[in-house]
């Protein structure tokens, strides 16, 4: 089914890490087919109240069942602050599912997912779907500090190997997720480059670093980008990102997931 706009109610609103909410939306609509990496635009139902005015994009974190959508929301500003304030029981419009999700393809048996900070959100859904396809999945998950790490038991229980990195060393590897990736790739032996699928989501600096590493090894990589968005559907040209070769790409509909080749100049 094509993207549409549905009414949803927040039925759970839980602090799962420092300044990080798990928001669970319940909706009667159930025809959405969501690809991992796709996102929703969230807009609280506020007739005649225009603060916040615009909807906000959030990666779909999990889809426990067809009536439920989980988001992981970092509290960073006005809209996300509003979510925290409202707790549960409020209604919101969700536009989605939006954008181009991850396209891991068939061949790679092994997937290494690299997440920095809230970039872990779409990795839940992606890991789940890769596991369902019988792949071997590792998540390299970096954050500033252990307090910022979102619980990943849902992933480990389904067989995802999760390795942590924290800038301050309070959990796992001391350093960031891309440094962890270097280490990790050194350890696994690849018979050929097509064997491993890399996907990354997080701060731009991390994505650039991950790209440098995978280029050195000749691996392919998908990255999920962020951009400030107004429409979320390709209409406003607000989210344009300067891609490789100075081409413009709309993060909301040409992405948010791009092949790293398209994104980074050599």
């Amino acid at each position: 089914m094509e993207a549409n706009r549905i009414l949803a109610r927040v039925v759970e609103c839980k602090l799962v890490a420092d300044s990080t909410l798990l928001l669970r939306f319940h909706t009667l609509e159930h025809r959405w087919t969501v690809n991992p990496g796709q996102f929703v635009m969230v807009g609280p139902v506020l007739e005649r109240f225009y603060e916040p005015f615009l909807n906000r994009p959030f990666s779909i974190c999990r889809r426990p069942d067809e009536h439920t959508i989980d988001l992981l929301v970092g509290i960073v500003g006005r809209a996300t602050g509003f979510f925290l304030q409202r707790g549960v029981g409020w209604d919101s419009w969700l536009m989605g599912p939006l954008g181009r999700g991850f396209q891991p393809g068939e061949q790679a048996e092994r997937a290494v997912l690299i997440a920095g900070g809230l970039g872990v959100a779409p990795m839940f859904h992606l890991a789940e779907s890769l596991i369902a396809q019988g792949k071997r999945v590792t998540l390299l998950y970096g954050a500033k500090s252990s307090r910022m790490l979102v619980p990943v038991t849902a992933l480990t229980e389904m067989g995802v190997e999760v390795v942590f990195a924290t800038d301050d060393g309070t959990c796992g590897f001391k350093g960031n997720a891309s440094e962890l990736l270097s280490e990790h790739l050194d350890k696994i032996t690849l018979s050929n480059a097509g064997d491993v699928y890399l996907a990354a989501c997080g701060p731009m600096a991390m994505l650039e670093e991950v790209d440098r590493i995978r280029r050195r090894l000749g691996l392919s990589l998908e990255v999920s980008l962020e951009s400030r968005m107004a429409c979320g559907v390709g209409a406003c040209l607000g989210c344009s990102h300067v891609l490789a070769g100075n081409k413009l790409g709309r993060v909301c509909c040409d992405g948010p997931v791009f092949d790293a080749e398209e994104v980074f100049d050599r």
Partner: protein, 304 residues
């Protein structure tokens, strides 16, 4: 209850109803296909087109502000040829009216755009953007002075048979003077208003929140300014006015119409609610029939 007559003629442009989607906020229409029945709209005004393709401004290009937003897209567009090749064939198949928003760096470019669009099937009218705050050459400069504004309007008028609307900037000292001059050129209508020039800075980091530093303010925040512009100009100018600025829900459209607008354009509200324009239309129709208006035209300029 009567079903009110919603038809409206903006000069030569005949619309089934007075609610349009504003330029730059509705892409090329197709982006909203899955959210609504596009054919129910009075018209779709597509994103501004220039002769040559334009990459637009550096990101970030949008930022929310209190009850509104700033944008500095910088008129990114595929150019006239790209538009005709990639967008028009699909647009042509729609039953709603298609209005092409144009902007040029020189008066000659405006004239050329008008002339080349004149032949094209599927283009129902032109909207001349002399009011965009986000492009350096041209744009707002043309809209800031009555003489230049009228010159652009004349150039377009004389190069096309199609209905011509001229979209004016509110960033001026004397909007009525500009509107009056432009109205003299024989164009079909005026669209009021484009965005107001604004800026936002992240207080903590000091980073300007738009790549272009300055952008255009739109949304409910500017509605009082837009309503005032419509009111003042409609009292002085006899050609039809299309109200635009801060229309999010149907009462806002009623406000514009009562101020003097014959029709309205819904802009950034579409970002908040992709169906905003249709919701506005449905609410307007309900209001008119509940208040026993035989036509929307009866409401134009009607104050108590």
């Amino acid at each position: 209850m009567m079903k009110p007559d919603l038809r409206v003629s903006i000069g030569g442009l005949k619309l089934d109803n007075p609610v349009m989607a504003a330029s730059g906020t509705f892409g090329y229409g197709r982006e909203y296909e899955s959210y609504m029945d596009l054919n129910k709209l009075g018209a779709i005004v597509v994103k501004g087109i220039s002769i040559d393709p334009s990459p637009g401004n550096p990101p970030p290009r949008t930022v929310e502000t209190p009850a509104g937003m700033l944008n500095a897209i910088g008129l990114e567009n595929p150019g006239l040829d790209g538009f005709v090749r990639d967008k028009l064939p699909w647009l042509r198949k729609q039953r709603t009216k298609i209005i092409v928003n144009i902007y040029g760096k020189t008066i000659e470019e405006y004239a050329e755009l008008a002339e080349r669009l004149d032949d094209l099937d599927g283009v129902d009218a032109l909207e001349v953007n002399i009011s965009c705050p986000n492009v350096k050459s041209g744009g707002i400069a043309f809209g800031s002075d009555p003489v230049t504004a009228a010159r652009v309007a004349s150039a377009v008028r004389s190069h096309t048979q199609k209905p011509v609307l001229v979209k004016l900037s509110p960033n001026v000292t004397d909007l009525v003077a500009i509107a009056s001059e432009v109205a003299e050129t024989g164009v079909d209508g005026l669209v009021l208003i484009n965005t107001l020039r604004g800026m936002a800075i992240d207080p903590i980091s000091g980073r300007p929140l738009l790549g272009n530093l300055i952008g255009g303010l739109s949304g409910p925040a500017i509605r009082p300014i837009a309503v005032r512009a419509v009111f003042e100009v409609s009292r002085k100018v006899s050609i039809p006015i299309v109200g635009c600025g801060g229309i999010v829900e149907w009462p806002d459209a009623v406000e514009h119409i009562r101020a003097g607008a014959w029709a309205v354009e819904v802009g950034s509200a579409t970002f908040r609610n992709p169906r905003a324009s249709l919701d506005v239309l449905e609410g307007l129709e309900r209001f008119l029939s509940q208040m026993n208006f035989a036509s929307c035209q009866e409401l134009v300029g009607l104050l108590a």
